[in-house]
């Protein structure tokens, strides 16, 4: 299930060399093998032209873009840097880099002090420094884009984690992460010309097409999170906006990265992702300068974690789960190609696998096994047939349904297939009933009225089908056997399905005898004889859906299983129909 799209620029960077050696078809194949989906090869110009017309696109760049779908859990493939690194290692063109956390060359590490006020709003924060980084326009754009992608994905639209990046040379630590009343926070936000209080900002951004989506995260909190430097300069007001003062530019040499969060694990992952991807451009590539986080209780922690975890597993495990027969060394090599540096330990077929900080998706041996299978090539695995011996059984209710459907069509009725979700009106007002009297299940977040409730009866669907097909020659004879949903306190979820059979006859005369005849035929199929007591009979009933005196309950072995009759003219009108109509609806579960 591909979840994210990475745009990879196809020019202006040495890293793309590897891609250039491939034809588009070969690159497509490589993506497929690696679990990526090359969606399309396009350009900014082409995209704008497609979305806004040729005139708008005239000035746009025609540099080739590869639009690639990346699996939703592979944050390390979200930017050009990580994607190319991953593919190069996969193709044995590059050794997997080792990410190192280092102390500053001189002085103390940068410090981020968390105060206890943050506890109620956004309690976690981590930080790190990218020292002596060299940005180019492409690198800078990629850096900004990765933050945005992480915000949308793992950060769950900034609700779990928010990333702030700052030009370290414009601010001075130690930094304080605290929370204040919105009226007490005042600063010049990113790309604005004057200072605003947090209260003002919240109303300013109400109309911002991008930022308004994040306001709800803190809006109703008494205190808003904010990060200050030692001079009282505001770095950011997470998760909404950074300060303008510390904004990074192409000239920025030293980047201070902070991640504030409601989920500590994700904050660490996000920070690791940012620094592993972009430390490549530091004077000492793949090194990251540590920062110290001081907690309200006085404890301290050094970040980024950049944790390497070691796992041991056997070659036999991989071979057996995948269905291959490879040597321990070969398996270790396969894993290494997936950025999981591995080696045979020599103890039997034991393999030691090192999981780098970039692979937060590896949480179990089965994830390692999958990587071995990918590197081996899914399509190189021999397809085998399991010996599993089983005897098939049909679900009795479905078996009955299948058999009945066939014979109802043979009886001259046509099968309809309607939605299980509908409006309250469909199952209540339109049928002359009150919604409060229906045992309906209600949906809390319908986008339209069509999805307010689960249907409690099949009748409205069939009447709507007739209304949509009024041009068809009369009579219309329709049926449906399907599930309705009813509230039921005895079930763990408080509701259950009920399998119903419903049929309607629509013609110039009501045709009660036709529907009645269909009931007789159905009972014949179900081997129930017409008789009171042990058989079936119908008995006059009162129902606001039906025409007075033209409605009867269906009793089978003394139990009421449904109803039939001539529809009330008001019901016919409400479904925008013009002809008389008779209908039958009954439960089929009693016949199992």
């Amino acid at each position: 299930m591909a979840g994210n799209t990475a745009f990879v620029t196809g020019a202006n960077t040495f890293q793309i060399e590897m891609l250039k050696k491939h034809t588009d078809e070969e690159f497509d194949e490589l993506c497929f093998e690696f679990g990526l989906e090359l969606d399309e090869i396009t350009s900014e110009k082409e995209i704008i032209s497609r979305e806004q017309g040729d005139t708008k696109a005239s000035g746009a760049s025609d540099v080739i873009l590869y639009k690639i779908d990346v699996p939703a859990n592979r944050y390390d493939l979200l930017c050009l840097e990580g994607l190319v690194r991953g593919l190069q290692v996969f193709k044995n063109k590059l050794e997997v880099p080792r990410y190192k956390r280092v102390s500053p060359l001189s002085g103390e590490p940068q410090k981020l002090i968390i105060t206890k006020e943050t506890e109620a709003v956004r309690p976690h924060a981590v930080a790190a420094v990218l020292r002596n980084i060299t940005f180019t326009q492409e690198r800078y754009d990629s850096f900004i884009e990765l933050q945005e992608k992480l915000h949308q994905n793992i950060c769950r639209k900034r609700s779990l984690v928010a990333i702030g990046t700052h030009d370290l040379d414009t601010i001075s630590g130690p930094f304080t992460y605290t929370a204040k009343r919105p009226g007490d926070i005042s600063f010049k936000p990113l790309n604005q010309t004057k200072e605003y209080t947090a209260t003002q900002l919240m109303s300013l951004y109400k109309t911002d097409s991008h930022l308004r989506h994040y306001l709800h995260i803190i809006e109703d909190k008494p205190l808003y999170p904010v990060i200050y430097d030692s001079n009282g300069v505001v770095l950011s007001m997470p998760p909404i906006i950074n300060g303008d003062h510390s904004k990074i530019s192409l000239k920025t040499k030293n980047v201070f990265i902070e991640c504030t969060a409601t989920d500590q694990t994700k904050a660490k992952t996000v920070l690791d992702m940012m620094v592993t991807m972009f430390s490549e451009y530091c004077a000492q590539p793949f090194t990251v300068e540590e920062a110290e986080v001081v907690y309200p209780d006085g404890k301290t922690c050094i970040y980024p974690e950049l944790a390497y975890r070691k796992e041991k597993l056997s070659g036999k495990f991989i071979n057996q789960k995948v269905g291959i027969n490879e040597s321990t060394e070969k398996i270790a090599h396969l894993l290494t190609r997936m950025c999981l540096l591995s080696q045979a330990t020599g103890a039997g077929d034991e393999i030691e696998v090192e999981i780098p900080p970039t692979r937060s998706d590896i949480i179990h041996a089965c994830d390692i096994m999958e990587d071995a299978a990918i590197a081996y090539g899914f399509n190189n695995i021999t397809r085998t047939t399991p010996r599993t011996y089983t005897v098939a059984n049909q679900f009795p209710l479905n078996k009955l349904t299948e058999l009945l459907r066939q014979d109802l069509a043979a009886a001259g009725f046509t099968e309809a297939l309607n939605f299980a979700l509908c409006s309250q009106e469909d199952i209540a007002e339109k049928l002359g009933k009150k919604i409060s009297e229906m045992r309906a299940v209600h949906i809390s977040n319908p986008k339209t009225a069509e999805f307010q409730v689960a249907r409690t009866t099949l009748l409205p669907g069939l009447l709507k089908t007739i209304a949509a097909n009024r041009k068809m020659p009369l009579p219309l004879k329709l049926f449906e056997i399907s599930d309705v949903v009813l509230k039921d306190e005895t079930k763990d979820v408080g509701a259950r399905n009920s399998r119903r059979f419903c049929a309607v006859y629509y013609n110039k005369s009501p045709g009660f005898e036709v529907i009645h005849g269909l009931l007789d035929r159905t009972m014949q199929l179900l081997e129930v004889k017409p008789a009171r007591g042990e058989g079936y009979h119908i008995q006059t009933a009162d129902d606001s859906t039906f025409f007075p005196g033209r409605c009867a309950d269906i009793f089978v072995r003394g139990k009421n299983v449904g109803r039939l009759g001539v529809l009330h003219p008001d019901v016919i009108n409400r479904f925008e129909l013009t002809m008389p109509c008779s209908a039958l609806e009954m439960d089929i579960e009693p016949f199992l």
């Binding site: 269905g323 299978a373 085998t384 297939l417 259950r496």
Partner: protein
């Protein structure tokens, strides 16, 4: 059928001549309307090869309405002449007669009458001759009797100019003997009747040939819905492969069984309001297997069973939220949990039923669709086994060229998207999703550690739309269905050979 008398007379006429007769001539000689003879020709033709009739057309002079009147009552001038008595007639009186005006001038120029303008009481008209010869009428009578050839062309054109004659094209038949010519008529029967069968006289009868070009009468019948026909076939395939059907008749599911039990973390986007229908009533599920719930909570928040877990604060409140199930895998989870509570025996399960997504709708996406799902649980199943089972399954659909792409799915690892080669599009297209259920899902249920569970899924609507050539899903599913399409849809022998 024309009058048998006319038919026989016509046949007798044809018999008498060597070459043939003209229908028009026959009509004239019999003194009947031409159409009667045309009808007789058609009736005889319908009897088979009794006669052969060749359509001919000829020019023919015919009286106009005015001409017919003159043929009956005389020319206007003759009528003027005959209405003038010996003592003469006042001109004003004459002019009151319908033929007065035209007849007067014609009679004047023929010098049959004269006007005494000086007569007391106004101009008066007197005969100038004793008797007249009404040639116009005689000529017209000749034409009327079919003897127009006796008139000269000049005379006919003059009468045409006076709008008394017109030249018309007449179609007639040239009738000759047919191969089975006979002067007696055998009536052709349209259909075999019970009486004929009883009496055996069908042996002597001739039967009217059928028109095999025409369509038959559509049978009066009911129809099965095309999507359900395809469902029946998929069901059949699973049953042929020994898969047991799961009870999927529970659209309402708790988030616990739909997500948590599948090791889908509580912050996963699929659990968002934008993707899933939540219930306001009944809002929560209230009953869970408590031990199992604790194990699920632990594997999410802390890990275990060899897993790091997701390391977050797992909340029962999230798990209790009732939803409309987003996949039938929720039922698979319940089934596997149930299986784990007994002594393990290998199983193969399948289901085809509705699932619900609160997504943006378009021409190919609805808020509800049918998911087809297959599950196999056994000791030591491999990824190769999953691909082998998928190969068998898709072969039954007529799809033999498959390849697999690594993918991500929260509850399967490895996960594979299934692609088939589309001969029409000349490219690989996705036909389904598959994978091996994660240990974090299976082990908390209590399944033995060496049991693997492989599974795959696809939608029912997409292959059906392709099979029946439907572009808008609303024409297939829901009340806006095109019933004509339902009436016309063919049987589903095999589910679609390509998607």
């Amino acid at each position: 059928m024309a009058d048998t008398g006319v038919l026989e007379t016509l046949l007798q006429r044809v018999e008498k001549v060597d070459d043939g007769v003209d229908s028009l001539a026959v009509a004239t000689s019999l003194g009947v309307d031409h159409q009667v003879i045309v009808g007789a020709v058609k009736s005889l033709q319908a009897l088979g090869d009794v006669i052969s009739a060749e359509l001919r057309s000829s020019k023919h002079w015919e009286l106009t309405e005015e001409g017919t009147e003159i043929a009956e009552q005389g020319s206007h001038e003759s009528r003027v002449f005959s209405c003038i008595p010996q003592e003469g007639l006042a001109q004003s009186e004459l002019m009151k007669l319908p033929f007065g005006k035209i007849g007067f001038s014609k009679a004047m120029s023929s010098k049959w009458i004269r006007v005494d303008k000086a007569h007391e009481g106004g101009p008066r008209i007197f005969r100038t001759v004793e008797s007249i010869d009404d040639q116009v009428r005689e000529k017209l009578l000749l034409v009327q009797k079919g003897h127009s050839t006796q008139l000269e062309e000049k005379e006919k054109n003059e009468l045409k100019k006076r709008k008394l004659l017109s030249e018309v094209t007449v179609k007639s038949y040239w009738i000759t003997k047919g191969n089975s010519f006979s002067t007696t008529i055998t009536k052709q029967e349209t259909e075999l009747t019970p009486e004929m069968i009883a009496s055996g006289n069908w042996k002597e009868k001739k039967f009217k040939p059928y028109n095999f070009e025409a369509m038959g009468v559509a049978p009066d019948c009911g129809h099965l819905h095309p999507l359900m026909k395809v469902r029946t076939q998929f069901r059949q395939i699973f049953l042929e492969m020994g898969f047991t059907e799961m009870p999927t008749n529970n659209f309402i599911e708790s988030s616990f069984w739909n997500f948590d039990s599948l090791f889908q973390p509580q912050q996963h986007p699929a659990r968002d309001q934008h993707d899933t229908f939540f219930l306001s009533d009944p809002a929560h599920a209230h009953e869970f297997p408590q031990d199992y719930l604790e194990r699920v909570k632990k594997v999410h928040s802390e890990g275990g069973y060899g897993s790091q877990g997701y390391k977050y604060d797992w909340k029962i409140e999230e798990a209790q939220k009732n939803i409309l199930r987003t996949h039938t895998t929720a039922v698979s989870a319940r089934m596997l949990y149930k299986l784990a509570q007994q002594k393990f025996t290998p199983v193969k399960y399948f289901s085809i039923d509705r699932v619900f997504r609160n997504e943006t709708l378009d021409a190919t996406h609805l808020a509800e669709f049918h998911q087809i799902e297959g599950v196999v649980a056994d000791y030591g199943l491999t990824l190769g086994d999953l691909m082998g089972v998928l190969h068998q399954f898709f072969t039954k659909l007529g799809i033999t060229k498959l390849r697999f792409k690594p993918a991500y799915n929260p509850y399967t690892e490895p996960s594979m998207e299934v692609f088939s080669y589309h001969e029409g599009l000349k490219k690989w297209v996705e036909v389904g999703n598959s994978g091996v259920f994660r240990p974090e899902m299976l082990l908390p249920m209590g399944l033995p550690e060496d049991v693997s569970v492989i599974a795959w899924g696809l939608s029912l609507e997409r292959p059906t739309m392709i099979k029946y050539g439907i572009n808008n899903i609303r024409e297939l599913v829901g009340h806006k269905v095109n019933l004509q399409m339902v009436y016309d849809s063919p049987i589903c022998r095999n589910p679609p050979t390509h998607f």
